[in-house]
Symmetry: D2
Subunit: 225 residues, 4 copies
C-alpha cells in the first residue's frame, strides 16, 4: 500500500453492499485521480470481484481464515480473495476478533497468497502484541470511539502516539494507522502529525451525506500542497 | 430448489476456486442441459458473483452469518450473497458448526433476504434438532464418511432412513438430502430409494479426474428414463 | 430433580461466589427444610465441591464441555463435576451459547457421567430444536427479560405456554422451566398454571436484599397448601 | 512462583481428576519436601478447592475467562479461582486458544484478582506476541511434541533458546518455561541450560507408571547439588 493512505472499511453497511460498493469505489477512484491521494477500499468478500473489476484503486478484504485449499466449507480462503482481485486483508477488527495463533497463521497464509495485511488492535497492549507478529500495518482503534462523533486523534491522541512508538520498537517494518471517529481533513492532518501513516475509517465516509466531499477534504489533507 | 437435486459443495478446493469454480459451473450447466437434472453449485463467497454471472444453474453460498446491515466487519451478510447472485445457503456444515441460536437467527435472516436454506447435521439427533427450525432442506452427513471412499447410502443407509422419518414427523415441509462418500449413479439411486430428495456432495465431483463423466452418470440416475 | 422446582443459577455474582455461595446454599437448605419445596442451586465450577460438602440440596454446574478424560486443558470435564458433587448441569444459557453439535454431545456426556440436564432456549424455535435432543428439562428464557423487573410469566405468558406445548409434542419426557424476571410467589404460581414444572432464576434471589424472604415466598407458592 | 519450577498441568486426565488430583498433589508435596524443588500443580476448576485444602504446594487453574462479577453463567471468574485457593492460571494453552484481546483482558483480570499468569505459545512468533502483554511467565510448547516421546529440549532446542531471547528483549520481567515431551531429569537440566526458568509438563508425570519416581528425578535435576 502506498503510504500515507486512507483505508475505507465499508463493513456490512447497506450504503456499500453489492452495486453500492461499486459506486463508492468509483467515487474513491475519482478522488484518487483528482488528488493523487492513496485510497483503499475494504469490501465484503462477495463484493471483491465486482469492485475489483470496476476500479483501479486497491480493493481489500475485511477478513480471511487461516485455511488452505481443501475441506473448509464456508471459510474464507486467502487465495479466493486474491483470485477475486483483493490486494490485502484486514485482520482482528474489533468486530471480528481472532485468536492469537490464528492471527499468526493468517499472516503467514496472507503473505504466501500475496496479500498485504493490516492487523487491528483496541489498545496499546494489543498493539504491541500484534506488532510482534510483524504485519505490514497495525491499525489502532479504541472501540469506544468507533462509529462515534469524536475522532481518536482529538479524544485520545496519546493512544496514537503510544502505538506508533510501541510498533517502532517492536517491528520497525510495520506502519501504523489510526481509526475511530475519523471524519475530517483536520483529523487526517492530526493523525499524520501524531506519527500515523494514515487512517482506517468507515462510517465517516460510508454514511456521509456526500461521501465525495468528505473524501476530497480528507484526501487533500493527506497530500500536503 | 427443484427436487430431486444434486448439490455440489466445492468447499475451498483448489479445483474450484476462482476461475476454476466458473469452469466447474459451466460443466454442471452442460450436464443440466443434457439431462435436465437439477444441479446446484455451492461456492466460496468471493466466487459467487463471477460464477452467477457466468452460468444459469443455481449458485449457493457455503455459509452466512446472522448479521444485518451495519457494523459487522468481515462477517457474511445475507444480502451481500443475494446481491452477488446466490439463491441459497448451506448452514452448519460439519466443517463450520454453528450455535443453535445462530442457526435459528441465520434461517430468519436467510428467509428475509430471499435465500433458500440447507442445514447440515451429523447424526439423527442433530437432524431432529435442526428440523425443528424448519429449514427448506436438511442434509445429513456422517462426518466419518465425508471425503471417503464409501457412500453413506451403502455404509449407513439407516441414518438416511432415520433422518427422512425424523424430519417428516417434525417438519413436513423440509426435504432431506444425504451426503458423505457419494460418487456414483448407484449412490444417487439408493439415496432416492431411501427417501432422500437428493444428495450433497463435494470431493466425489470436484476432485474427480473427469467431473463431467461423474456428473453425467449421477444426473442420469437422478432423472429416471 | 424433584418437580416442581426452583433452580437458582448464581452466575458469577459476587453475592454467591466462594464462601458466599455456601451461605446462599445454606439459606436454600433452610427454606427446603421449612417448606419441603424442591430447590436447586447452580454454582460456579470452582464452588461446586465446597457447596456440595456443606449442604444437602442438589448442587448443579452452570456449564460443561463435551470433552472426555484426556488432553483438554482448561475445559470442563463432566466427570470432574460429578466428583465434586454436582447432580446436574445447565447447558446453552443465553450467556453461554453452544453449537448444536456440542449440545448433543454434551447431553450424551452428561448422561454417561450421571448428570441431569437443563438446556436453555431463548425462544420457541430454539426450544423446539433443543427439545428434539431430549434433555431432562428445557428452560425457556426470553433474553430481553433476563435480570429485569418484569417476569416472563406476566410479560410473555404465551412463550411459556408455547414452549410447554412444543416440548410436549417433540419430547414428552422433557419438563419445561421458565425464567427471566421471576422474583415473587405470584410469578411461581403463574408459571405452574401456564404448565411449567418450575422456574430458573438468578438475580431475583441472589441480588435480593433478603434472599431468604424471597425464597420462602416462592417456595410456599411452589408447594400449595 | 518460586523459580526454577516444574509446573504439572493435569489437564482432564482420569489419573488426576477429583480425589486422584488430591493424591497426585500429595505426591508432589512429598517431593517438594524431600528435595526443596519448586513444584506447581494446575488442576481442573472443580478440583481447585479440594486440592488447595489438602496440600501446601501452589495450586493453579488451567484457564479463566476475562469476566467480572455479574451475569456470566458458566464462565470462569478469576475471583472464584482465588477463593477456591488458586495462586495462578494458565492461559492460551494450545488446547484452549484465546483471542488476543481476551488474553490481554484475562491478564488484567488475573492481576487484579491476585493470580500469577503463564501464557502458552506454540512457536516463537506467538511467544513474541504474548510476551508483549507482559505476563509473569510464557510457556513455549511446540504442539507437535505435546504428549509425545521426545522432549522439546532435544527435538527443538532452538525454539527454547529463541523464546528466551525474544522474551528477554520484549518483556524482561517475564520468565520462560518450555514444555512438550518433557519427562526426565536430563530434559530438565537441558531446559535450564537453554535459559528456561523451568518446565510445563503433563503426561510425563500424570500418566507415568510411578509419578513419584519421575518427579523425584526431575526435582533433583532442578535443584543442583
Amino acid at each position: 500500500m502506498e503510504l500515507p493512505a486512507i483505508v475505507v472499511n465499508v463493513k456490512t453497511y447497506r450504503q456499500a453492499t453489492g452495486e453500492a460498493a461499486v459506486s463508492l469505489a468509483h467515487i474513491m477512484e475519482e478522488v484518487r485521480r483528482e488528488t493523487g491521494a492513496s485510497l483503499v477500499i475494504a469490501v465484503q468478500a462477495a463484493d471483491i470481484y465486482r469492485v475489483a473489476q470496476a476500479v483501479d484503486i486497491p480493493v481489500w478484504a475485511q477478513h480471511l481464515d487461516p485455511v488452505t485449499y481443501g475441506s473448509h466449507t464456508g471459510w474464507t480462503l486467502p487465495e479466493s480473495l486474491v483470485e477475486a482481485g483483493a490486494c490485502g486483508v484486514l485482520l482482528n477488527h474489533s468486530e471480528h476478533q481472532l485468536r492469537i495463533a490464528d492471527i499468526a497463521a493468517a499472516l503467514g497464509r496472507a503473505r504466501k497468497a500475496g496479500l498485504e495485511t493490516i492487523v487491528c488492535a483496541d489498545n496499546i497492549a494489543v498493539t504491541r502484541a500484534v506488532a510482534a507478529l510483524e504485519p505490514d500495518l497495525v491499525a489502532v482503534e479504541p472501540p469506544g470511539l468507533i462509529g462515534g462523533e469524536v475522532s481518536v486523534t482529538s479524544a485520545e491522541p496519546e493512544i496514537v502516539v503510544g502505538a506508533v512508538s510501541a510498533v517502532e520498537s517492536i517491528s520497525p517494518r510495520t506502519a501504523v494507522l489510526c481509526g475511530a471517529g475519523v471524519k475530517t481533513g483536520e483529523d487526517i492532518r492530526t493523525a499524520l502529525e501524531l506519527g500515523a501513516a494514515g487512517v482506517l475509517l468507515a462510517s465517516g465516509v460510508v454514511k456521509a451525506a456526500h461521501p465525495k466531499k468528505v473524501l476530497l477534504e480528507m484526501a487533500e489533507a493527506l497530500i500536503p500542497q
